[in-house]
């Protein structure tokens, strides 16, 4: 499968998609805290569907531009958003295991993304040389 050349724009789109997706868990947890079938319950449940809908639209655009393996690896960033929203919205406590886990995930995503940039630079250079010749 041929992916388009690496573009920062596609990675920014991916990050926006993952950022929006992370709010799905917040909406889901908030819905679970409301009285079943009450107005706030439907409001949060509706917000959950909206976030998933927007995410699905963005995800398809991301897949048009980025390799599935790399895009899927970036989903690991969700752990960091999970920690952030847990602390900000639900006053959850974080421990060293969560931080260590998040750091390992970040390193993994870093290896993926920068591997992609390196590989792309390599494929672009010969093309540039061909054009200059």
């Amino acid at each position: 499968m041929n992916d388009k050349k690496f573009s920062i724009g596609a990675f920014i789109l991916l990050q926006i998609a993952l950022f929006i997706f992370s709010f799905g868990a917040v909406c889901s947890k908030m819905a679970g805290r409301q009285e079943f079938l009450s107005i706030p319950f439907f409001a949060y449940y509706g917000a959950l569907f909206l976030t998933l809908f927007v995410y699905a639209i963005l995800w398809q655009q991301v897949l048009k531009r980025i390799s599935l393996v790399v895009a899927y690896a970036c989903k690991g960033i969700g752990i960091i958003y999970g920690i952030l929203w847990g602390v900000l919205f639900f006053k959850e406590e974080i421990n060293w295991k969560m931080i260590a886990g998040a750091v390992l995930v970040l390193i993994g995503v870093y290896i993926f993304v920068f591997g992609e940039i390196k590989a792309n630079k390599k494929t672009q250079k010969p093309e540039e040389n061909e054009q200059n010749a």
């Binding site: 599935l68 393996v69 690896a73 260590a100 390992l104 591997g115």
Partner: protein, 111 residues
């Protein structure tokens, strides 16, 4: 419990297959943006996602939540393997190392 773990892993597998179908659809050219979404592949993939959520819900009957989040990490193994065989995507040593870091991170996070 083994039965539920197998169902969970199967659920993650079909969800990964759905991602491959989405990627296949993304690689095709369509006449309009609407058709990029309203086509048999995308609709089929999201139907599989729906089936996967039902299977996961059933599997959680016998799988603890902490183990569930770990089993979900199986996607980081399924996706590269399926991408290699079906999408013919290159799997580099960097990707294998990256996947291992992500899986280890998820394990440490859930310790």
């Amino acid at each position: 419990m083994l039965k539920f773990v197998i169902i969970f892993l199967f659920s993650v597998l079909i969800s990964s297959i759905a991602q491959i179908i989405l990627k296949k659809s993304a690689g095709k050219k369509y006449d309009s943006v609407i058709k990029e979404y309203l086509n048999i592949r995308v609709i089929g993939a999201y139907s599989i996602f729906f089936l996967s959520t039902l299977l996961t819900m059933y599997a959680y009957k016998g799988v603890p939540l902490t183990l569930g989040t770990l089993l979900e990490a199986a996607g980081y193994i399924y996706i590269p393997i399926l991408s290699f065989f079906i999408l013919k995507e290159k799997i580099t040593p960097r990707m294998v190392i990256g996947s291992l870091f992500i899986i280890c991170g998820i394990i440490v996070y859930n310790l």
